[in-house]
């Protein structure tokens, strides 16, 4: 069974540019999450999808971030325009049930560097 896949693994962009991160969850997992780790600090929740619906996007930093989940399958996270403070590692995770009951499976992350 394939795990959670994220693309790209690394991205270096200039301030003001746009970047789109992609996450393919484990097949059959309705719950998809985005997290971010900035500058070696704690890993912070960004948002949660159940199928194609956003359940909670309270962790999204600002309106420069837009997440979508087409047809309840893969998800994209777009940053437009990117700022220096957006640099960090973006993780995607999926689970079959809410994580209060089961483990979440994480992807390898996308390391975003804004210069």
């Amino acid at each position: 069974e394939a795990g959670v896949t994220q693309f790209p693994s690394h991205s270096v962009i200039e301030k003001g540019q746009t970047v789109t991160l992609r996450c393919d969850p484990i097949s059959g997992h309705d719950n998809l999450y985005w997290y971010r780790r900035v500058m070696g600090k704690e890993i912070k929740f960004l948002l949660h999808f159940v199928k194609e619906s956003k359940q909670d996007e309270s962790g999204m930093p600002n309106n420069r971030f837009l997440a979508e989940r087409t047809g309840g399958t893969y998800s994209t996270l777009k940053v437009q325009p990117a700022e220096l403070e957006d640099s960090g590692v973006y993780f995607c995770a999926s689970s079959s049930m809410l994580v209060g009951g089961v483990e979440a499976f994480f992807g390898q992350g996308t390391r975003l560097t804004v210069v």
Binding site: V4, Q6, N31, Y33, Y35, G40, K41, E42, I43, K44, F45, H48, V50, Q55, D56, G59, F91, A93, L98, V99, G100, G101, V102, E103, A104, F105, F106, G107, Q108, G109, R111
Partner: protein
């Protein structure tokens, strides 16, 4: 604010020694999970311990949970160079959809 806080922030040990790190949290939880992140790699799930469990083992890993103290510990026995990584605890509330992570403990195992 984040739920889990790991202690210590960094740990350096000799290969073969044991490594212990702790996690404290603030509110009642349904389960607590430990993850590992090797440099440049993704988060790997290690162990999930539920609120009604006190101890769990997986290979060279031992996790304890003390809900009265709202704390957990992760013990790695007979450490290896490959155990060099950052270790995170993450808590989940019942019927919740998100994990709350701490800043992690960076473990360095010297050969």
């Amino acid at each position: 604010s984040q739920q889990g806080e790991e202690d210590p922030q960094a740990l350096s040990i000799q290969e073969g020694e044991n490594a212990t790190m702790n996690c404290s949290y603030k509110t009642s939880i349904n389960n607590l999970q430990w993850y590992r992140q090797n440099s440049g790699r993704g988060l790997v799930h290690l162990i999930l311990i539920r609120s009604n469990e006190r101890e769990k083992h997986s290979g060279r890993l031992r996790v304890t949970l003390d809900t009265s103290k709202k704390s957990s510990s992760l013990l790695i026995t007979a450490s290896r160079a490959a155990d060099t990584a950052s270790y995170f605890c993450a808590t989940a509330l019942a019927n919740d959809y998100k994990l709350s992570f701490g800043a992690g403990t960076t473990v360095t195992v010297r050969a």
